[in-house]
Symmetry: C2
Subunit: 157 residues, 2 copies
């Protein structure tokens, strides 16, 4: 799961296709990259085993699920020391509505992405779940009006 892997042009093609269409059959993938099925499959397995491909996920439509509110929240901790950070991380991991949490440079310490049903539900998450974390000093919310781009595909060097 942590092999140093030489990624050639063919691997790059495979990765770019699988980032966008993970459900492609090996037969079709092999055609798209001009290779026969056997070595194609072998390359995919190698990329999975080396950890380059971490996992596969279904992308759901938030609107159709009734999840109308997405926000980013800048979080500042009261004390930015090791113990406080670890405690904050532990508590954030337990909140399902927090779908992302990044430790960042700059005046805020963390950036969260939160998904909620509606504004009332969002208020509930903020007041009863996130604000309950005592290590937090300050929160600043940004509501997502629309998502212009969410490519799910990283630029492979």
């Amino acid at each position: 799961m942590s092999d140093s892997h030489k990624i050639d042009g063919t691997d790059r093609k495979i990765l770019n296709i699988l980032q966008k269409h993970a459900k492609i059959t090996n037969a079709q993938l092999s055609k798209d990259i001009d290779l026969s099925p056997a070595p194609t499959l072998e390359r995919v397995k190698k990329l999975e085993n080396s950890g380059v491909i971490e996992s596969y996920h279904a992308k759901l439509n938030s609107r159709l699920l009734g999840l109308g509110v997405t926000t980013f929240i800048h979080v500042k901790l009261s004390k930015h020391n090791k113990a406080n950070n670890e405690e904050f991380i532990r508590k954030i991991n337990a909140i399902d509505e927090v779908v992302e949490c990044h430790h960042i440079t700059g005046s805020s310490h963390y950036l969260l992405k939160v998904v909620a049903k509606d504004i009332e539900n969002y208020q509930h998450i903020i007041l009863d779940k996130i604000s309950e974390i005592e290590e937090i000093d300050d929160l600043q919310s940004m509501v997502v009006l629309s998502t212009i781009k969410d490519s799910k595909a990283v630029p492979i060097p």
Copy 2:
């Protein structure tokens, strides 16, 4: 692709599994939700056709690909009118290294997520690609030190 779909407890189980492990076989999925394969498959197809499941993606390991720098950038446009927004969106969509772009409330107008090989490469993207967009008035970068959580799974109401 836009059917209004009644999502019951069984559908919710299916969606929660597919969000996290899209490569599960229908046989295994049916066992996990205590249903036989035939109706399980039918439900998955219905969720795909109604648009609740939008797509399937492979998650890649950025570090192993040599993508060491991830940043969020607050963007302010010079004039926040329709023409400027559309032009900005068009240009942002053409930059592969910008993996996300959200229109947000608050003092900045957009929030971008950018993935780069290293700091030099990041500087190149900022100076030669993003700053070249003339509709932009101001940029403020936040470098991601570490990603604590990236669940790829939305909380289904």
